[in-house]
Subunit: 384 residues, 2 copies
């Protein structure tokens, strides 16, 4: 059964101290309904993604709080899969339509992270890691630094190779007025930025952000027909993996990404070269490089070289542009909202609404959302 995304809204991502979690959710829901031009009564169910409101704000059971915001007694669900919460919410929303339990659903993700001390937020984020990793005092930069060191040594690269991810994504962020960071940075600036967990610097790392994003998804043929802007969901697949790095067979492959990608490409019967725009989970620079390889766009081990060609940067004229939103790195990473923003950015690109960063003739888009250090991955392919 065909399902299409027919509307999208994202709040600005960044330090949004003037709005509560509920107010961010309300802005995203209201914005998505307005952009789509439908009434809230046409929404049959809501899927909500959030990671940290419980741990940081003792705020759970958000479905009932969203019922207060929208004033409807419809089914509302909350999904949590760490930083993959948004992709997972979209995946289950899509399945809800396929099960014919709803015709039109709203998928909204939100996170409030900057009201707390960095130590509190960093500690809360480690809830996504294994108990052993938490007990060892590891942090997420630390976990990805282990992966990065392994990758650099295995293939003979240096930290300079990683730096190109941040350079590209900050350039894209400069073209996105909803992005957390809009400044352009150079390779030299990345290399000279403060070290977080060697070899990862501040400018290799996605920030702690507030924000909310929402998409509207429908299987209603008449509704789809009336819409000016629409993009079809061709596939949404998810896989899981052991969370502890020490239990992985291979440190430079995110197995969950690989499995989900293979399933999604098989279902769509698309080739990798058909994808024109991709939003990848660049929580750290190394993550985008591994994702390009695990998704099958680049061969394993060649990412360190390929990233220096700037072939996935807007304006390069190549057939695949990556993280036009600015990615997690520059657009920001309010974890529950990230997976929804990725899909929303593809929607903007495929429907010609991406403004200054519009990729020409974008027909197929892929979103890749990861939880923790690879314990969950979601791959979504959209097309027009």
């Amino acid at each position: 059964m065909k399902t299409s995304i027919i509307g999208y809204y994202t709040t600005r991502f960044g330090e949004i101290w003037e709005k509560s979690l509920s107010e961010l959710i309300e802005e995203a829901i209201t914005g998505a309904l307005k952009n789509t031009g439908i009434d809230k009564k046409q929404i049959d169910a809501v899927f909500f993604s959030n990671m940290l409101a419980g741990v940081l704000g003792n705020n759970l059971h958000t479905p009932s709080k969203i019922a207060e915001i929208i004033g409807l007694n419809i089914p509302i669900f909350r999904l949590e899969a760490a930083c993959a919460s948004g992709g997972i919410a979209f995946h289950l929303a899509s399945n809800y339509l396929q099960a014919r339990s709803a015709k039109t659903v709203l998928v909204v993700g939100a996170e409030k992270m900057t009201d707390y001390s960095p130590e509190e937020t960093t500690s809360a984020l480690m809830a996504a890691a294994s108990g052993e990793e938490q007990a060892a005092g590891l942090t997420f930069p630390g976990l990805y630094a282990i992966i990065a060191n392994y990758y650099l040594q295995k293939y003979g690269y240096t930290e300079e190779n990683l730096a190109y991810v941040g350079v590209k994504n900050h350039f894209h962020g400069s073209l996105n007025d909803k992005a957390h960071f809009r400044n352009i940075v150079t390779v030299n600036q990345v290399l000279k930025s403060a070290c977080i967990a060697a070899p990862l610097k501040v400018l290799d790392s996605s920030p702690i952000s507030d924000g909310a994003a929402a998409v509207i998804l429908t299987s209603d043929k008449n509704m789809i027909k009336k819409m000016k802007y629409k993009a079809d969901v061709l596939s949404t697949k998810t896989a899981s993996d052991v969370i502890s790095l020490s239990k992985r067979e291979d440190l430079d492959t995110l197995l969950a990404t690989k499995i989900a990608a293979e399933q999604a490409f098989k279902e769509t019967q698309l080739a990798r070269k058909n994808i024109n725009v991709a939003e990848l989970h660049d929580c750290f620079s190394i993550a985008e490089i591994l994702a390009m390889e695990d998704l099958g766009f680049w061969k394993k081990g060649e990412g360190g070289t390929r990233i220096k060609e700037f072939s996935t940067q807007f304006g390069s004229g190549s057939s695949l542009i990556v993280n036009t939103s600015g990615g997690l790195k520059a657009a920001g990473h309010p974890v529950g909202a990230t997976g929804i923003k990725q899909i929303g950015e593809l929607f903007l690109q495929l429907t010609g609404q991406a403004d200054k960063r519009q990729v020409k003739k974008a027909r197929y888009g892929l979103a890749h959302n990861v939880g923790g250090s690879g314990g969950t991955a979601v791959v979504t392919i959209l097309g027009i």
Copy 2:
């Protein structure tokens, strides 16, 4: 498409200090697979329900931790809807089968609550309430006490009417060797037990428990055919409502329960009198009385009288027996596990495996799971 429950396992509910959350989950998964007689490789996806591990134990992203336990890279989802988490996980699992994204799924719920001080756990549970209610210093007994006082005054009952719920459910708990409490209590004992939030006493209130429960659900016709024990999912419906009591139109009706029940009975075309066994959300005595009314088994306002007839007690010979497991009151209430245990208890009853508490000729069962003070409700109807 027909889907059937083909297996169930629950750990003992109670103070299980010797097992971690992961160990409880592992026991439930292993037990359910063994009871069903299938291999873990036949499981296509896992739905997991838990409320508090994030807030109390900084433990999130459980899907990846379950991937470690079962050693499979399949889709795994975590659902949270406060005390309705289990019912919601089952609802979405059922939809996942209907969407044909999986043929056989495992739904597991777990909660670890007794490793913390009562104050910590009580505070964490209030995450399910509204911000205003939290700020006012209200507790869940306090919220349900407001509802209870309203109900008693409106219909001219006293706290004695409420006491019969605990008496009945403790009697049922005495017949269930997995129950948290197995002692029989009298009306007088309930009335003389310590007051928690007037008019609610300790023996009107469900306990804080540890525990895990799992069911296996399949749409695989060949698998269903081979099974000795099976019960069909006839309907699973959920609705939401505003969470703040102050925003409700009517304090003695849980609107979400009413809506979900009407939808479920409509879908199954069953009459209320067709239901032989029901597991209702008796977090407090008043909640079971309201549920009987809101689900349409009793008329609004007559519950205070009807509960004194003991007609829903095992052995009464009436056509509907309620909370044979002991309910939340006596079986215990490890919140993430509760909704799964309810459905599992119906499975035991409908397949003739309920041992000392087996209701004769039980053909249709209804489970009713509530989040918070009624912000979420799930109604599931099973049949053979």
